[in-house]
């Protein structure tokens, strides 16, 4: 501790001396200053709202009881009365506000006003204290929104008394007709405000959706069963409509509860929440909100929350029974993500403890029997999607080169098929950009020579900037001259266009049958994305994309025999293809102790669990009996991989928690370096400006520091563009850093830095990296360029993108990329001494097999011993670890 304060002093005094370094370090040091060791309450204040998910209080027994009592009351007394009576005084205040709103012509603005004043003045808006007020708030809101049936309601001019609206809705006994009447307005049944004309426009289209026809059927099954499996193809409207159907029947606002709808993807959670907020004529974040990692757009008013499945899992850590929810909808369950599968296992257990909790599993594919049998033979409701027939074509022979074949097929369609847009599925960014370029070239020729219409080609992949992603929705180009050949657009996409994104106008789908899929093998501990054949289910999904607007055609670039024989029925669930150490930590935190018998739909192969437990044990998150340690508990507070979490938690010991915090954020976002094919050389030159000879981690840190400098912040967009950096990635790193910092502050982890000029500034950071990444280390093999991974003995090369100049004997890596060659990406050089010092258990020399790694470690141990010996007797030897 002494040393730290010393060095900080040191830093302050010397900081101004090196001017050119200043610009880089400044933001960081400023950062350091601006985060004084205040009391946790005050520091949480600013960001608490966004991070609500992490702050979930464990439901106290008394709370649970109270809720139950109220639930019983529901049947006897109109719920509306309770709130009014019990919280009359605070309701009055709210009532005044509402009256003000009524007088204002623009309800949207009024609402904002209310929000801001409320947040400034009302201690209840402090999410940290929210648990103290939760019930009040909800009641109030209930009053505010729907329950002003007594007294004050007389002042209202609108026709329908909302109290009577909801009083006429016996919970879990409602029908579609009742809901329809309430939906017809004139006032919003949830917010009480007059409904806009846009609402009624949307309502008309909503009522044309396939799910709407089966609303009564759905309600019937929902009411009588705890679990329900709902199958609706894409386009049936299930994601937007089913949660709303449930709101009318489950009445979470009266129950002081929420309806949750989980999504595997963040983008989907955000966009669907926005859509549903529009449909319900409310502001996003009020009655309808969303919660994703590092972003929570919900409020005390929220009754319907779209969230990533991972977020619900995090909530379950603090609220093992998920008490705040009355219904949980798991959407896109067919995707079988790690979090979805974990949640399903968890909900199966929670459901036994909470018979009042309703669970709806929604899937887009018809293999729903598995869900049914898994959830104790739950009833099934299937709604057909609104799709047109799609003609499927196969190639007579397998293709020699699927990319070439795809390009050829696209051009053939363009030259010979009637109007309609094309969707081509390829596997990754590079391949997609390459294909786009080739199609563009060939299409120009086609236009010149064959008088074809204009063809616009758009790439689509996850890391594409949003504004460029938006371009795929541009209408197809017009014919070059009136009456000429029609123009069309061609979208070349990864499998994100398979389920998550819907593009209207697609009539032709070209499916080469591949996608990048995650694989994990615990034996060599490699988790990598590799190009693999898709499943039959995926192929059907892709074909279905051609029939959204009218009958379409799907060109499969493989033979029918190959489709039947070579493709799996469904894609393997993520549980079988992932490193599960993070999930294991989550499950431990949720209170699942017997991981061996935890009832997952597709339990992973035992070796995957063996490795996960072993890794967590080496990280000291689990003790030898498999119990969560203090460090493990702390690590589970962070929405991070255990490796990163442990590194971050131990970083104060190395006097660089500020830097490691930045690095953790940078490692949690997509690639920050941009390397467009057109300007590779220039991009590499720019990257060299930030390069640190000791490796990529430090280079990334340099970038971040430079990004935070005043010079860059003056015009970040231009600056990023000039330096070939991704503004989006850096900005999201910034926000991730902010969120993580709050967790660190909450957990009372110190944020410290060594002065930049200190000779150990970078060494400290490298040592801190070892504290997390000691299991991802490789050693140089002789004099060649290859490295060998420690313990797994895999021959690897450094990824060409690395900045590491000097050939380091030992290095740690962030990623092991499996391609035809094995690559290590994002590496930093380290020293054997550090490995032995920081991770003595893992580097216990006796556990190593014969080989160069062991020899080298032994030499290092001997060296340390000699050093210790010369320093004088009596000092502890390093090998005592």
């Amino acid at each position: 501790m002494d040393r730290r304060s010393d060095s900080q002093e040191h830093g302050r005094s010397k900081r101004r001396k090196t001017a050119d370094m200043d610009s880089r370090t400044d933001p960081l040091l400023a950062d350091m200053k601006e985060a004084p060791p205040e009391s946790p309450e005050s520091s949480d204040d600013e960001g608490g709202v966004k991070l609500e998910g992490y702050y979930d209080r464990p439901a106290t027994p008394t709370q649970g009881k109270r809720v139950k009592q109220e639930k019983k009351n529901v049947i006897v007394i109109p719920e509306t009365l309770q709130g009014h009576d019990r919280f009359g005084s605070s309701s009055k205040k709210r009532q005044r506000e509402e009256e003000e709103h009524d007088s204002k012509p623009n309800p949207y603005l009024a609402h904002q006003d209310e929000k801001s004043t409320k947040e400034e003045s009302d201690p209840k808006s402090n999410p940290y204290l929210a648990h103290m007020y939760e019930e009040e708030e909800v009641e109030e809101q209930g009053y505010n929104g729907y329950s002003n049936g007594y007294g004050k309601a007389l002042n209202r001019t609108n026709g329908i008394s909302k109290a009577s609206t909801w009083a006429r809705f016996p919970r879990h006994k409602t029908t579609a007709a009742m809901a329809k009447k309430a939906e017809d307005g004139p006032n919003n049944p949830f917010s009480g405000k007059p409904l806009s004309s846009q609402y009624f426009n949307i309502l008309r289209t909503r009522r044309n959706l396939p799910v709407h026809q089966q609303r009564d059927e759905f309600l019937g099954l929902y009411q009588k069963s705890q679990f329900l499996v709902f199958v609706g193809e894409t386009g049936s409207g299930k994601t937007t409509q089913i949660p709303q159907f449930i709101l009318f029947d489950d009445k979470p606002h009266i129950q002081h509860k929420l309806v949750a709808c989980t999504q595997p993807r963040r983008v989907a959670a955000m966009s669907v929440a926005q859509r549903v907020a529009n449909e319900m004529d409310v502001n996003l974040g009020d009655e309808v909100g969303y919660s994703i990692r590092f972003e929570d757009v919900t409020s005390q008013k929220t009754i319907l929350k779209y969230m990533t499945d991972g977020m619900l899992l995090r909530e379950a850590m603090h609220d093992n029974n998920l008490q705040r929810y009355s219904t949980i909808i798991l959407d896109e369950a067919h995707e079988r993500t790690l979090a979805t599968d974990t949640l399903m296992g968890l909900l199966k257990e929670v459901a036994q403890r909470r018979p009042d909790l309703k669970i709806v599993i929604m899937s887009a594919t018809l293999d729903a029997q598995r869900f049914q049998s898994y959830f104790n033979d739950a009833p099934l409701l299937a709604v057909p999607g609104r799709t047109h027939p799609v003609q499927i074509f196969y190639t007579p022979e397998p293709e020699r080169d699927y990319v070439e074949a795809s390009i050829r097929t696209v051009l053939q369609i363009h030259a010979g098929e009637p109007e309609g847009d094309i969707l081509l599925f390829l596997t990754g960014e590079e391949e997609i950009e390459d294909a786009c370029r080739k199609i563009n070239l060939e299409a120009d020729e086609l236009v010149r020579e064959a008088d074809a219409g204009p063809l616009k080609v758009y790439p689509l992949y996850g890391t594409l900037p949003p504004q460029q992603q938006q371009r795929i929705f541009d209408p197809a180009p017009a014919p070059r001259k009136p009456g000429g050949a029609p123009g069309r657009k061609c979208i070349v996409s990864t499998n994100i266009a398979e389920t998550s994104l819907t593009i209207d106008g697609i009539v032709y789908v070209v499916d080469p049958g591949f996608s990048k899929q995650k694989v994990y093998n615990p034996r060599i501990r490699v988790e990598s994305l590799i190009v693999s054949p898709i499943s039959k289910a995926s192929a059907q999904q892709r074909a279905g994309r051609a029939g959204r607007t009218r009958p379409g055609k799907c060109f499969r670039l493989y033979t029918e025999a190959a489709f039947k024989k070579e493709l799996n029925e469904t894609t393997y669930p993520e549980f079988l293809r992932s490193n599960i150490s993070s999930t294991v930590l989550d499950l431990k935190k949720v209170g699942i102790d017997d991981l061996v018998h935890f009832d997952l739909m597709d339990p992973p192969p035992p070796e995957t669990l063996i490795r996960a437990l072993e890794e967590l044990n080496y990280l000291a998150c689990l003790d030898d009996d498999g119990n969560l340690t203090h460090l493990g508990k702390l690590a589970s507070e962070f929405p991070l991989d255990p490796t990163l979490a442990v590194m971050l938690i131990s970083s104060p010991e190395f006097y660089c928690s500020n830097e490691i915090l930045s690095l953790t954020a940078l490692l949690s976002v997509p690639q920050i370096f941009v390397r467009p094919a057109s300007a590779r050389k220039r991009a590499d030159e720019m990257k060299a400006l930030f390069a640190h000879p000791d490796g990529d981690h430090l280079t990334m840190l340099n970038v971040y520091h430079a990004f935070k400098s005043a010079e860059a912040q003056a015009n970040p967009k231009q600056w990023c563009h000039d330096h070939f950096l991704s503004l989006r990635a850096l900005q999201s790193a910034d926000s991730v850093r902010q969120q993580l910092r709050q967790i660190m502050e909450r957990e009372e982890l110190e944020l410290v830095s060594a002065p930049f000029e200190h000779k150990d500034y970078y060494t400290n950071i490298r040592r801190a990296l070892v504290a997390g990444f000691f299991m991802q280390v490789a050693k140089k093999e002789g004099s060649s360029k290859t490295y060998v991974t420690v313990k797994d003995n895999q021959n690897v090369l450094l990824h060409p993108s690395t900045v590491l100049q000097q050939e380091s004997e030992w290095l740690l890596y962030n990623e092991f990329v499996l391609t035809t060659k094995n690559y290590l990406r994002t590496v930093t050089s380290v020293k054997a001494e550090w490995l032995l010092d920081i991770a003595p258990t893992y580097y216990d020399i006796t556990t190593f097999g014969k080989g160069e790694v062991k020899n080298s470690l032994q030499r290092t141990i001997n060296k340390i011993r000699r050093k210790e010996a010369t320093k004088g007797p009596g000092r502890p030897k390093t090998n005592a670890h």
Binding site: T395, E397, P533, A562, F563, D599, E614, G626
Partner: protein
């Protein structure tokens, strides 16, 4: 080891004895070949060897070598299961996990025990291309293998075939001999006086063959003569020939009886001939003699084997 079998000695002592016995077994003692005295490596030789070794080590491996080595290592690692000494395994064992069993609910039929394979795609071949290649390769391999097999099969047949052919030839010879004997018995001295059609089918072939030979000989002679006095012979017509008593055999004429007989297998032909000789002429083809009466006293039997 009879001593050990009958000996009532306790087993420990017994084995000790056996050991002793083995030690004392001079007869089976092998005397090591006198090894060549290790030639002392000269300084130069050692220096060269060392240098070569260093060169081999320092020589940058080619990309192909590296890739092959990496792949080999990967395959080894991928096929090696995690050891049960792993702490993770021990934690699971405490929860009742047994090696070889799956995780999850015991009733779950979908629980996997084995890891999914890792297949790295190395080219841009379409779905099914890999298998198509493999299938083609297999087919080619099968074709090559098939050819070899056929050759082998033929090789194996060869001896059999040769033996069979030799046997057939022998029987053919015997048949001819029997036919000659029969001809001698039935038509001693007779030549072409009897029309071929009337001759016993058993030896008709012989007559016919002879006639054909004669015809051929004549034809050849004619051909030779024709060069000089072709015309005179050509003038000779059917009637002249009849007049000359040189009735021409119409060789091409169908002789179903003979054809049927000829079509028989050699053995059958021989059997018939031998039987006929015995019945009609009391002649045993195997004894090579004619007997007095049909009892054929002294002949050991009908078959060749009886006469060994």
């Amino acid at each position: 080891m009879t001593r050990a079998a009958t000996s009532p000695l306790p087993s420990a002592l017994k084995s000790a004895l056996d050991d002793n016995h083995e030690e004392d077994d001079y007869m089976s003692m092998t005397i090591a070949e006198p090894t060549k005295p290790i030639e002392k490596e000269t300084y130069t030789a050692r220096r060269i060897r060392k240098q070569r070794e260093v060169e081999a080590r320092s020589r940058p491996k080619s990309k192909a070598e590296l890739a092959a080595a990496a792949e080999r290592e990967r395959d080894i690692a991928l096929s090696t299961a995690l050891p049960s000494t792993s702490k993770g395994f021990q934690m699971m064992a405490k929860l009742g996990f047994k090696p070889g069993s799956a995780l999850g609910a015991t009733t779950n039929p979908h629980a996997r025990t084995e890891l999914l394979g890792v297949v790295v795609k190395e080219d841009r071949g379409g779905v099914g291309m890999e298998n198509e290649k493999k299938r083609k390769f297999r087919e080619e391999a099968a074709a090559v293998a098939g050819l070899e097999k056929k050759q082998k099969a033929e090789e194996g047949d060869y001896r059999e075939r040769v033996a069979r052919e030799r046997e057939e030839k022998r029987i053919e010879g015997l048949c001819w001999g029997a036919t000659r004997v029969l001809e001698g018995l039935e038509a001693p001295g007779e030549g072409a006086n009897v029309p071929v059609r009337k001759v016993n089918v058993l030896w008709r072939g012989l007559v016919k063959e002879r006639e054909e030979n004669e015809k051929e000989r004549r034809a050849r002679y004619d051909l030779l003569q024709s060069l000089s006095k072709n015309a005179s012979y050509a003038d000779e017509d059917e009637q002249d020939r009849q007049a000359l008593g040189r009735e021409e055999e119409v060789v091409d004429e169908e002789d179903e009886e003979l054809d049927a007989f000829k079509a028989l297998e050699g053995k059958e032909k021989l059997r018939r001939l031998v039987e006929y000789l015995r019945e009609k002429h009391f002649y045993c083809f195997w004894c090579k003699c004619k007997y007095e009466d049909e009892s054929m006293e002294g002949c050991p039997g009908v078959d060749e084997d009886d006469h060994d």
